[in-house]
């Protein structure tokens, strides 16, 4: 291509939630935008662990719930703490979450991402599938002004490139913005989507109609730092684990064997009896949190979604899709403003960062910046699941005629048995207060 005039105001790389939201915001602001997707359709390369929360969609489409490709609306939210032979489950139910405007939903990414990309296309974005952005183009001054693709004559120029190309963001790596590989800030997610008849799911999980359940699991990952998740779709159940990459590498365990053991756990197996595997999948998740995030705005170049490490692994809250949509919208709006103002330099695009700091995307990451360290810490991962379950077991075991022990003494005895000292218990409690305050 000899003509170096921009064909588009902006190019968005990756039609996942961040990219489609960015393209939608740009198109709605009247800018021309190309949305590149390397898969045959949006969502075809994407895997996640759970739940999409709806509030971020309110700003995109009123009454979005009437058309979103939902599987089930989450009305039961559980946390399960496992040892090999014990399970403590905290089970919360809110019927309100099963009615408009809803809270969280389960959905297949192939459906959801395609739906969101369609919104961008309807607003005027140009979606180009089966196309890999292979590199960045720069002008004589070294400023990014387009991408190369794997199509013949595939160079595309634009005033701004927004990289929403996912956790491995080859564009950001090439631009020198992300390190080449940093396993300590990534976890591997692996999951199985398991087929069961709809009425069996309803019965086993206590659900009716389009009600759904989502359980987060601590323990049950074969001694590898991480966690698990279980949630219901219409006629499938998803069971998966997330595994610290460095620990997976040294543990010499196969990921699918860790899922197999979790499936066989007595607290899980009863839910899944008779289920057959419909799809097995795996994906990396960035889990470094706020402190591991790269710089988000550069001359003519923005990062959003997994490419920018925007997933929250904070134990109580595990979210990625919402952050991606929020960041994508902000990136699209900031780009549109910068183009109107005639300054697409890093300075001209700085309102992106400011916008994210003001809203949940960076505010949540910043407030919970210490959470990934706590959630993946040695005691929380290795010692507390057993400590908590042993405590519950001791509380509920009736040892007549021996008199019942005091709970404080019991806790200390159980802690000692599990290798946790009193001052460590106090320190971790204070740390948790500090992280989540």
């Amino acid at each position: 291509m000899t003509d170096s005039r921009p064909a588009f105001d902006a190019i968005v790389v990756g039609a996942g939630p961040a990219g489609s939201a960015a393209a939608l915001a740009l198109a709605r602001a009247g800018r021309s935008v190309a949305l590149l997707e390397r898969g045959p359709f949006p969502g075809s390369k994407n895997v996640y662990g759970g739940v999409i929360y709806g509030r971020i969609l309110d700003g995109i489409l009123p009454r979005w719930w009437e058309e979103v490709p939902v599987q089930r609306w989450v009305v039961r939210r559980g946390t399960m703490i496992l040892t090999d032979t014990q399970a403590l489950t905290v089970d919360f139910r809110a019927q309100k979450w099963g009615e408009a405007p809803y809270n969280g939903m389960t959905a297949y990414r192939a459906d959801f991402d395609r739906w969101l990309a369609d919104k961008a296309v309807q607003a005027g974005a140009r979606l180009v599938t089966s196309t890999v952005a292979t590199g960045l183009l720069r002008d004589a001054a070294g400023r990014i002004n387009g991408v190369t693709t794997d199509r013949p004559d595939g160079d595309l120029r634009a005033q701004v490139v927004i990289a929403c190309d996912g956790v491995n963001s080859l564009l950001a790596r090439q631009a020198g913005i992300l390190p080449q590989a940093d396993p300590t800030h990534h976890v591997l997610g692996v999951k199985e989507v398991l087929r069961l008849p709809r009425e069996v799911i309803d019965e086993r999980f206590g659900l009716r109609g389009d009600e759904g359940l989502d359980i987060e699991i601590l323990g049950g990952t074969g001694g590898i730092a991480g966690g698990g998740f279980l949630h219901t779709n219409v006629d499938t159940v998803t069971l998966g684990v997330v595994l610290s990459l460095p620990e997976l590498a040294t543990a010499r365990r196969r990921p699918e064997s860790i899922i197999a053991d979790l499936k066989a756990h007595p607290a899980i197996a009863t839910y899944l009896r008779g289920a057959t595997v419909e799809e097995y999948s795996a994906h990396l998740i960035p889990e470094g949190g706020y402190d591991a995030m790269p710089r988000l705005h550069h001359d003519g170049f923005l990062l959003a979604g997994d490419a920018a490490g925007m997933t929250l692994a904070a134990g109580i809250w595990l979210e990625g899709v919402n952050f991606a949509i929020g960041a994508g919208l902000a990136a699209g709006q900031a780009t549109a403003r910068a183009i109107v103002a005639g300054d697409t330099s890093a300075r001209g695009l700085a309102s992106y960062r400011e916008d994210l700091e003001r809203t949940f995307v960076l505010a949540d990451h910043k407030r919970l910046r210490l959470a990934p360290g706590l959630v993946l810490s040695h005691r929380l991962q290795r010692l507390y699941p057993s400590l908590i379950n042993d405590f519950m077991e001791a509380v509920f075991t009736v040892d007549n005629p021996a008199p019942k022990p005091g709970l404080a003494r019991l806790l200390l005895a159980v802690a000692k048995r599990n290798g946790v000292r009193f001052h460590e218990l106090i320190a971790d409690a204070l740390r948790a207060v500090r992280v989540y305050r």
């Binding site: 390397r38 075809s44 895997v47 491995n168 990459l245 499936k263």
Partner: protein, 97 residues
């Protein structure tokens, strides 16, 4: 925990839709693998694509790859794994991700 009879990996992989391209998007320098004492890729790759060979090397086939990035992240020696995406439209296609 007693190991549960599990679904074999090849059966799990049989549930996944792959549109295999002609170009190998990942290239492994197997000479470097013979020098590697840990070979973490063998157990970590969720698709099980890194097979140890009798001579201490690694046999790799790109065709049933999830494109997740685990292999290059856990690889012990920088530069051993050349990692790119498959050409547009090829590779894994998730329907239930």
């Amino acid at each position: 925990m007693s190991r549960h009879p599990q679904v074999p990996l090849d059966e799990l992989m049989g549930t996944v839709d792959f549109r295999v391209g002609e170009r190998a998007h990942i290239v492994v320098d197997t000479a470097a693998c013979r020098e590697c004492s840990v070979q973490s890729c063998v157990t970590a790759c969720p698709a099980g694509l890194f097979i140890p060979t009798a001579d201490g090397g690694i046999l790799f086939n790109y065709e049933q790859c999830f494109e997740c990035g685990t292999c290059y992240m856990v690889c012990n020696t920088a530069g051993t794994i050349t990692w790119t995406y498959p050409d547009g439209g090829y590779g894994v296609v998730f329907h239930r991700g």
